[in-house]
């Protein structure tokens, strides 16, 4: 309270004195479009703590859940572009436009820095007859549509799209596999264990408990290289010879129209946090994949996500728009 009062007082004094003060001079708000206690919220809070150190002002995480994440994400775009309200966006922003849930596109966001990429994996039940990815793909191709089913996420979620992308890249029609929507990975793994579905395309850490319980088994990870925590799980590229990676991601974004100086300062701070040992240790410990894309890389990534997500959602019949 006292600290806030002093910062506010200092803020008034500074803004009254000089027109252009050194950014940042007062607390920054970081919007998270999901509830407190979830994965995105957890990473956002660690990033916020890092940014506080880099920028020297308080960074408050504000949860704006609702509307399947649309509300919070759209607020990140419509907020005043003064650099004092930024957002922590998740992979869902690439699909809202195509699903017809929002007017904004992934490319509308001002990319500041991507800090996390979690590759999707190919989990099967412990007693599944598939020992490797080619065998699974062969079986999916040769059996009638709907024989095999996936679950573990809502229809059109990032992992679902990554899985469909994997099939497509390997010349298998993604419509051959039926997706059974579920709320989160946990109920999906439960379906896997009870025999309702055959494949869960969630990340490796999400399946760790079930692997330990010897209920499930991963046969591939959709990453560019094997994960340090799971050295025995081959990448999809290794297994099939067809290059493919996919999954979910999170990053710091802002509204359009940020001053160049402010955007640069934020981007530098995010880079510093994303490459800091504290952050990478946290991410590795908790099973998240650390990443550090600068604004240019992030922008190119958003553009490619926008087109590839649009394509695959149209293939799956989940899109309400073509283009």
């Amino acid at each position: 309270m006292m600290k806030k009062l002093m910062i506010a007082a200092a803020g008034i004094a500074v803004s009254a004195g000089t027109a252009i003060a050194e950014y940042p001079e007062r607390p920054i708000t970081m919007i998270v479009a999901w509830n407190a206690g979830g994965g995105t919220d957890a990473i956002a809070r660690v990033v916020a703590a890092g940014l506080e150190k880099e920028l020297g002002v308080t960074v408050n995480v504000v949860n704006k859940p609702g509307g399947g994440g649309v509300i919070g994400h759209s607020e990140m775009l419509t907020t005043r572009p003064d650099g004092y309200t930024i957002g922590f966006a998740s992979a869902e922003i690439a699909s809202y436009y195509w699903a017809g849930n929002a007017q904004f596109k992934a490319t509308d966001f001002n990319p500041i820095g991507l800090v996390n990429f979690d590759p999707s994996a190919f989990h099967v039940a412990a007693d599944s007859e598939w020992q490797d990815l080619p065998a699974a793909l062969e079986a999916i191709k040769s059996q009638p549509a709907g024989t095999y089913k996936t679950s573990g996420m809502g229809a059109g979620a990032a992992y679902h799209l990554a899985f469909a992308g994997l099939l497509k890249a390997n010349g298998v029609d993604p419509m051959l596999v039926t997706h059974v929507p579920s709320q989160g990975a946990a109920p999906g793994f439960q379906e896997l264990a009870s025999g309702g579905v055959q494949i869960i395309p969630s990340s490796l850490p999400e399946g760790l408990s079930m692997m330990q319980a010897e209920r499930s088994r991963p046969i591939a990870v959709l990453a560019e290289e094997r994960l340090a925590a799971f050295p025995d799980v081959p990448t999809a590229t290794e297994a099939t010879g067809v290059e493919f990676s996919g999954g979910t991601w999170r990053g710091v974004v802002g509204p359009q129209g940020l001053e160049a100086e402010v955007a640069e300062k934020l981007a530098a701070a995010v880079q510093a946090v994303a490459t800091s040992e504290e952050f990478t240790t946290f991410m590795n410990d908790k099973g998240f994949g650390a990443a550090a894309y600068n604004p240019e890389e992030f922008e190119a990534f958003l553009a490619s996500q926008h087109t590839s997500v649009g394509e695959i959602m149209n293939d799956l019949g989940l899109a309400q728009r073509q283009e």
Partner: protein, 503 residues
């Protein structure tokens, strides 16, 4: 045994004991505010737990949730406004008991039953976690569909006297549950282009509207301005007589066991447990006519169940990392952040932690008794305030509570709309309880039905060809059609000339 002593060591530290007391007070405070649920109390604490030791973090969450589930009963008893959704099932009973001057039988009984239910759940957690988890893991969407349908049949038990009006109320709740993005296809239903409705109608805001706002409207409509010397006789003892507790032993045990089992099932938590236990208590009761009008039995059964469900929900959480309810969903996140991977290995790798968790459960449940007495006195103080001070304060709390649901002003519009609707409905004898039940279970029914249909490729036989699914299906059908047969039999037995239509 070594692990147990190591667990004791972990718990009996100044930091942990202090956090237990502070989070108990916090849970009491949040739970008593209409609309703020136990889940929200826990979510609010998550950022605080980041800096704590793992045991202190768990102690915070467990104590806070146990306390707020009980505290939700306090405004329900004194004001007929339940503080948390899991108290909604028996609010009328509590309020009627308090009006009759039986505070001890209402809140005291609820506290005692909460403690005993919580302990039953904890013992189940300690003794048969792996066994129960295996049982829960065999549940797929088919079983959940039947179970949710069975839950909906509780509506007939909480509907009151007019089955048709109860049915309308239930349908309204089910309708509210389908608003938003469709689970399977992602298309928008009944959102009329409003972004705020895409995520569905917030359950907590509906609660605030349907109970708090509608109740304020009702009180305004009968306000006389006369100052009653004693509004309610709250001079009775805060705790029930030992004899009364003994009389309720069956109800409490039944509630505890039911609550544990429902808590163990992933996705079904304290809210559903309270409703089901209330309905089951009514079914087994010798005095079913008292239910909804001040039944000690109903209060005992349901409040035992909602605290038992809290402990039960840790079973799948610990064994498989699959959260049993919305609170343990947060717990899984916190555990992983603390470097503890829930799963079968947790029992061998972090045995001291698991034992510490058991001990915290027992402590937080026992702590309920002194804190409950404190809450009862706080409630007495609040009820002794004058109308012109008390109701405006409640009104403000409702508005802020609704905003806090998602930090979004839109929640207030939901409070207003449902509040006015429910007020008019109540004035015309349409009950509120089925609406809440429909909203709680609507998505569970539809999502599991849709998932099942997709899995079964349209083959309806799949719904009944698994043993547990078949058993649940038979029970559901019996429960649904048994009352119908009963009604028909009574109808034919009665003399048609003196038969008055139900109204």
């Amino acid at each position: 045994m070594d692990a147990f002593i190591a667990g004791l060591d972990l718990v009996f530290q100044t930091e942990v004991i202090l956090t237990i007391v502070v989070s108990a007070l916090f849970g009491l405070f949040v739970g008593m505010i209409p609309g703020l649920s136990a889940t929200m109390a826990v979510a609010l604490l998550v950022p605080v737990t980041f800096t704590m030791s793992p045991v202190a973090a768990l102690a915070t969450i467990i104590t806070c949730s146990a306390m707020s589930i009980f505290a939700g009963d306090v405004p329900g008893a004194f004001l007929r406004i339940p503080g948390t959704p899991s108290s909604a099932a028996y609010t009328n009973d509590m309020n009627d008991l308090v009006k009759a001057g039986r505070v001890g039988d209402a809140l005291g009984m609820s506290a005692v039953a909460s403690v005993l239910g919580g302990i039953i759940g904890t013992i189940a957690l300690i003794l048969c976690a792996p066994l129960l988890a295996d049982f829960a893991l065999n549940f797929s969407s088919f079983e959940y569909f039947w179970l949710a349908l069975l839950g909906l049949s509780c509506a007939t038990l909480v509907a009151g006297d007019d089955a048709l009006k109860g049915g309308i109320s239930l349908m309204l709740g089910l309708f509210m549950a389908v608003v938003g993005l469709d689970f399977v296809t992602g298309i928008q239903r009944y959102t009329f282009g409003n972004m705020n409705l895409q995520g569905g109608i917030g359950f907590i805001s509906v609660m605030i509207g349907a109970f708090a706002f509608a109740e304020l409207m009702r009180r305004a409509s009968v306000f006389t301005g006369q100052r009653l010397e004693v509004r309610l006789d709250v001079s009775g003892r805060p705790m029930p007589a030992a004899k009364t507790i003994w009389q309720q032993r069956k109800s409490i045990t039944r509630g505890g066991v039911l609550g544990t089992l429902i808590g163990v099932l992933p996705g079904a938590g304290a809210d559903i447990a309270a409703w089901v236990a209330y309905a089951v208590s009514k079914r087994f009761s010798k005095n079913p006519e008292q239910f909804g009008r001040g039944s000690v039995e109903g209060v005992a059964g349901a409040s035992s169940a909602n605290n038992a469900a809290l402990s039960g929900s840790y079973v799948p959480t610990l064994v498989f990392g699959i959260p049993g309810d919305s609170i343990t969903a947060i717990v899984v996140g916190v555990l992983i952040l603390k470097g503890i991977q829930p799963g079968p290995l947790v029992f061998s790798q972090s045995a001291d932690m698991v034992n510490a968790l058991y001990i915290i459960f027992l402590i937080s449940n026992l702590l309920l008794v002194p804190f409950a007495i404190l809450a009862i006195y706080m409630g007495r103080f609040a009820i002794s305030l004058r109308d012109e001070v008390l109701y405006p304060v409640i009104m403000l709390l409702c508005m802020f509570g609704a905003y806090a649901v998602s930090n979004n002003i839109f929640e207030l519009w939901i409070v207003l709309a449902t509040g006015l609707l429910v007020w008019v409905m109540n004035e015309n004898d349409y009950p509120t309880a089925p609406l809440i039940l429909g909203l709680v279970l609507g998505q569970v029914v539809e999502q599991n039905f849709m998932s099942s249909i997709i899995k079964a490729d349209g083959n309806m036989m799949m719904f009944v060809n698994r043993p547990v699914a078949a058993a649940l299906a038979i029970i559901t059908l019996i429960v649904w059609f048994f009352p119908l047969i009963g009604v028909l039999r009574r109808r034919t037995a009665r003399d048609p000339a003196t038969d008055t239509p139900l109204s």
